[in-house]
Symmetry: C2
Subunit: 199 residues, 2 copies
């Protein structure tokens, strides 16, 4: 599917075929595309938990105001991040020439070390970027998706056994649409949202 078509046709779909399953190959293809999303200093701070187990998804649904898409879609992904990913800076530049490594690795560590708010912002940014990769890749594979923040983050963390020093940023369902999304609710005028040169 053409990129512009995927961007235009991607909508947040709530109604999925509960009998449809994604194959392991499809799930891996989708997630491998997500892993090509950019991250600051290539630190790949995101972690993706793909939930297919019916009992776990029932528990996630209960933690998400019982929204049906959590169990009706084919998979439910928890987009998480490791807050101290910067500490492993060497690993993200191992293939770069040594002089580049010598600059980038200390720069990455220095930029994030000890700055909890910045680490948290980076988690949310990286998760946001990767979520759109997943949504557009899903669309191009014939699937639809629904990004969600309306759930109990602490309960979800228990269900997926989120390790210390990690955060959850979003839940995303992916599956076969039974019913298209309702028309867009009310788009703001271009000129209100896009400014030329300055506010």
């Amino acid at each position: 599917m053409d990129t512009k078509t995927a961007i235009i046709e991607r909508r947040s779909v709530k109604h999925y075929d509960p009998n449809h399953s994604m194959s392991e190959t499809e799930i891996r293809e989708l997630l491998e595309l997500a892993l090509l999303s950019p991250t600051s200093f290539n630190m790949q701070n995101w972690r993706f938990v793909v939930v297919t187990d019916p009992a776990k998804r029932e528990a996630l649904k209960a933690a998400a105001w019982n929204q049906a898409q959590v169990t009706d879609a084919s998979i439910t992904i928890l987009l998480c991040a490791r807050m101290d990913a910067h500490a492993d800076g060497e690993r993200y530049w191992v293939n770069a020439p040594q002089p580049a490594q010598d600059v980038l690795v200390p720069m990455l560590k220095g930029y994030y070390e000890g700055k909890a708010n910045l680490q948290h912002d980076e988690a949310m940014r990286s998760i946001g970027i990767a979520s759109q990769t997943l949504m557009l890749a899903a669309k191009s594979m014939g699937y639809d998706s629904c990004p969600m923040v309306g759930f109990d983050f602490e309960k979800a963390a228990e269900i997926i056994q989120l390790p210390e020093n990690h955060v959850i940023g979003m839940m995303l369902t992916v599956g076969k649409a039974l019913k298209p999304a309702a028309p867009r609710g009310g788009q703001l005028p271009y000129e209100e949202v896009v400014k030329m040169e300055s506010f």
Copy 2:
């Protein structure tokens, strides 16, 4: 360009043709695609400042450790967000049936009102999502991009006259590549980043 190709071939490009300009039509096409990115409760909390003015871009470059792409690319976009976008909840659902509006608008306001950290997280998530729309749309239009957080956010805020109650989340350059990106620096193994069912 095919969606998967755009995802695979999108890289953070640093070297741009400084003589290339994007037309107003191209800039508008790119930003109109960004405006189709999903936001929580459709609140469209992002604001995009497209900087083409050479003096403003020199100032932004100075605020960004003199990274050449800020002036060499064709445009530099500041991805910002309005923190209290939820307060205008009615506008984002004006086209929905009244019973849906009656549920969604109070839910949106209640979810964000008075929760500064959550508003800030939503700003970063929305900006992350929209940035990937921009990067993939740019790729499909024959352009390359570079997402950046390595700059002085306060100086950038002065340059673009960021209003109160708004934040900057990212700088993004878009232009015609002169030199491709270096090979990926060091990708983490799939199994380390993608977990099935739980951590």
